[in-house]
């Protein structure tokens, strides 16, 4: 099962909301869709969910074109929009039962599916509560439950963690882990990048409708940041090492806090390895040489310019 977006374009008049976007991901992968507001994330996601039509390009879910065969594609996608359900005078169970009917589930199968999803999303205890009386976190669970009713192999989630408290976020993250473990392909957009990095296998960074960077999280972390921060601790001659590092070619800054030195090395892992070799060659007794990994937030800040359409 593969989701493939190829040269997707969406223009609103002269505004290029999505401009030649291509990426792909497969079953069991959680992919973060990252970008500033107005970058084109929601538009791309709506096209994948068959709610909008692109100006040009294609998007396939398991080989089914979402543009040419939207009816077929809809069976393969569960969509979680960036807004929460607002229906009045309807309980959680009635809401899910309604959507199960809308997905064509009948009789005992419908009852079993709704009960199963309620249990999976931990909604069984509040199934008779009115939707409007629920907290944001609970409403988000209901939305996720609704998207899972027809057991889609692909989940498209637009800002599912927005406005949730830490507990609700952690619970959502756990649910996504389980879903990913079940083999679902998940595309998730969020502004909470630290959380994305924890659950995502890959990320697509988009700005001004164009993809700036895409790939596995590990690759992005190693490729995108042009310098590395290395924490160095030596048994003796620490101040001397600090002075030496400041004069060394390829070292941008070095800070000494009395215990260890944080040095910023320009270049990739190669440069770090070279620095370690130099230190040992110069007789420093290195007890700790730890590379501080860049996080998704740092990558995001590095590659995006904050351009909003």
């Amino acid at each position: 099962m593969k989701v493939e977006v190829s040269n997707l374009k969406k223009y609103f008049g002269s505004t290029r909301a999505v401009d030649d976007v291509s990426f792909s991901f497969a079953s069991g992968q959680v992919v973060g869709f990252v970008g500033p507001n107005g970058a084109g994330k929601t538009t791309t996601m709506r096209i994948l969910a068959t709610l909008d039509e692109p100006t040009a390009g294609q998007a396939f879910i398991d080989g089914v074109s979402v543009i040419e065969e939207p009816e077929l594609a809809r069976k393969l996608v569960g969509y979680v929009p960036d807004s929460l359900p607002t229906h009045r005078d309807i309980s959680v169970h009635e809401y899910l039962d309604f959507f199960a009917r809308a997905y064509g589930l009948k009789g005992a199968k419908r009852r079993q599916t709704v009960d199963g999803i309620e249990e999976f999303t931990n909604l069984s205890g509040i199934r008779d509560k009115m939707l409007v009386a629920l907290s944001k976190g609970m409403k988000q669970r209901v939305t996720l439950a609704r998207a899972l009713l027809h057991d889609p192999p692909v989940l498209i989630m637009d800002e599912p963690a927005a406005g949730l408290d830490p507990r609700a976020r952690i619970e959502l993250r756990e649910l996504l882990r389980v879903l990913s473990g079940q083999g679902k392909a998940i595309l998730i957009s969020s502004h909470i990048l630290t959380e994305l990095a924890e659950i995502c296998h890959g990320a697509v960074i988009i700005e001004h409708g164009k993809i700036l960077m895409a790939g596995g999280i590990a690759d992005l972390l190693s490729d995108s940041v042009p310098r590395r921060t290395v924490l160095i601790r030596v048994l003796s001659r620490q101040e001397e090492l600090h002075r030496e590092l400041l004069q060394m070619h390829g070292i941008e800054t070095a800070r000494f806090n009395g215990e260890e030195i944080a040095a910023e090395v320009s270049g990739t892992d190669e440069a770090c390895a070279e620095l370690l070799a130099v230190l040992i060659a110069r007789g420093y007794r290195v007890v700790e040489f730890k590379q501080q990994r860049a996080n998704l937030e740092e990558i995001f800040m590095n590659v995006t310019k904050g351009v909003v359409q």
């Binding site: 809809r74 607002t86 229906h87 959507f99």
Partner: protein, 511 residues
């Protein structure tokens, strides 16, 4: 088999039937009714209605001292109760259905429904059916009070039944009108204006329903039931309501369909079917009654519908969506038929023009076949008038479309109707104003020549002295407009096949 086992079998059969019935129900109806019975607003409205009715009856009975001698007490009380019930129903049911749908449409709730397997027609039928059930609920709650009036004398059961039926249909039509208005994809401010417009429509509907109901109650239906005229009248009213409800349903379905879908299909299919059957009925009626009146009514109704259709057609998307093109048949004959019923500006214009020409053709043949039948002048006059009106609107539409494509490219296709309306206004007013300035001091101008300066007005056929001028200008303009748009139109025909999908993707069709 024991009695217990038999009982268990029968219970199981009933349960299975109930389950099947439950599965068969439209999900929207189930949801809407679940929400309605749990809504404080609905319950309060029902209780208030019943309280008002009790109070109204009590006040009437207490203030009318000689009630036992009055022969129209039942009729008066029925009218009061019916008025209250109709006011509440016509205000409450359409507002409840319309506002809910508008709210769902402005949020993402409807989007979520689109990505299920439910069809847009099920959504609209469901909303409509839920409104009907709510109306039945309100009418049922009021029925005991209304029945009570029978015992006060002055009202017969057939009149009560017919008046209730008229009220029921009026509420249903109002609800469907509000559902249609709620489906329009407009902003909040415009939605509010539409709400006000809908409210005015409902008030007009209420007043006319009450006037009809009053007339029927005072004249009494019982004595007329046996006459053919009465049933003819009922038939015409029912067909009229049916046509309006059907058209609103088809338009609402088209409006909520996803943009990639063939939105034009339900509306054009519905209008074509009604045009055919309505035409047959009108011709038969004209033949039986020996008057052209039914044909006049038929052609006038449809020519007005086609006038609106011209504006809609030029505002449709430039190309049909990929999902529409993908399903096109290989056979060129079948594809040609699909061309007329697919979304797209060129497709819409082709369908509308064909229908206008066909309407004129049918009327022309009919008045040639039956020149001695009554209302011939009305048929010829109204058909020519409305056809020339549509010829002018067609010219304006093609000019607007051409201007938008070449010079007003920043304006989206969906706003072409606004350009067209502006052109109609300019074309109707500017020549007349020039004439007014030229002949400012000529008092005879008003009596003689002003018609020449109305040449840009699509509705001016009534000025008989200059008809040949209007027709010549209209025809010449139509030839020019067609010539300027021909290449665009031919490209749309050539591109109307499944193979063109990949080419179109390459060439990035901008909306």
């Amino acid at each position: 088999m024991t009695a217990e086992a038999e009982l268990s079998n029968s219970t199981q059969t009933k349960l299975k039937f109930a389950e099947r019935f439950d599965d068969w129900l439209n999900p929207i109806v189930v949801k809407e009714l679940r929400q309605a019975v749990q809504s404080r607003f609905v319950i309060t409205a029902l209780l208030v209605l019943l309280a008002i009715q009790i109070i109204a009856v009590a006040i009437y009975l207490m203030t009318t001292a000689d009630i036992s001698f009055s022969y129209d007490a039942g009729r008066t009380v029925f009218m009061i109760l019916f008025g209250i019930m109709l006011a509440v129903s016509m205000l409450f049911v359409p507002l409840y259905s319309g506002v809910r749908l508008a709210a769902e449409r402005s949020e993402t709730n409807l989007d979520l429904l689109f990505i299920t397997t439910i069809k847009p027609r099920s959504i609209i039928f469901g909303k409509m059916l839920a409104a009907v059930v709510l109306t039945v609920m309100i009418f049922s709650a009021c029925l005991p009070f209304l029945t009570f009036t029978y015992f006060l004398r002055g009202v017969d059961l057939p009149s009560m039944a017919v008046v209730l039926a008229i009220g029921f249909v009026s509420v249903t039509l109002s609800a469907q009108t509000m559902v249609f208005l709620a489906c329009l994809p407009v902003g909040r401010a415009f939605k509010f204006m539409l709400g006000v417009f809908g409210f005015i429509l409902m008030v007009i509907g209420y007043v006319s329903t009450m006037a009809t109901a009053g007339g029927m109650l005072w004249e009494g239906v019982g004595s007329k039931i046996g006459s053919m005229d009465f049933w003819q009248w009922v038939g015409i009213i029912a067909l009229n309501y049916g046509f309006q409800i059907g058209l609103l349903l088809a338009l609402s379905i088209a409006l909520i369909k996803p943009i990639s879908a063939n939105r034009a299909l339900p509306v054009r299919l519905y209008l074509t079917i009604v045009w055919i059957f309505g035409g047959i009925a009108a011709l038969l009626g004209s033949w039986v009654e020996a008057t052209h009146d039914p044909v006049v009514y038929w052609q006038a109704s449809f020519n007005i519908v086609f006038a609106f259709s011209i504006f809609t057609a030029i505002s449709e998307r430039d190309w049909p969506g990929a999902s529409v093109l993908r399903t096109l048949p290989e056979s060129s004959g079948k594809r040609l038929l699909r061309f007329f019923f697919s979304s797209g500006s060129a497709n819409g214009l082709a369908w509308t023009v064909s229908m206008i020409v066909a309407t004129y053709g049918v009327c022309w043949i009919w008045w040639r076949l039956f020149p001695n039948v009554g209302s011939l002048a009305e048929l010829v006059g109204s058909t020519r008038w409305l056809t020339v009106m549509n010829l002018y609107l067609f010219c304006y539409a093609l000019t607007a479309a051409f201007l938008r494509r070449h010079w007003l490219t920043r304006i989206g296709t969906k706003w072409t109707w606004v350009i067209c309306l502006m052109l109609v206004a300019i074309g109707s007013i500017v020549p007349f104003l020039i004439g007014l300035l030229v002949y400012l001091n000529d008092s005879d101008w008003w009596r003689e020549d002003y018609g020449i300066w109305m040449v840009g007005n699509p509705f001016v056929w009534d000025v008989a002295a200059h008809r040949s001028l209007y027709l010549s200008v209209g025809s010449f303009w139509a030839v020019l407009a067609i010539a300027f748009n021909l290449q665009w139109f031919l490209e749309r025909i050539r591109g109307f096949h499944a193979q063109s999908l990949s080419d179109k993707n390459q060439s990035e069709r901008l909306e």
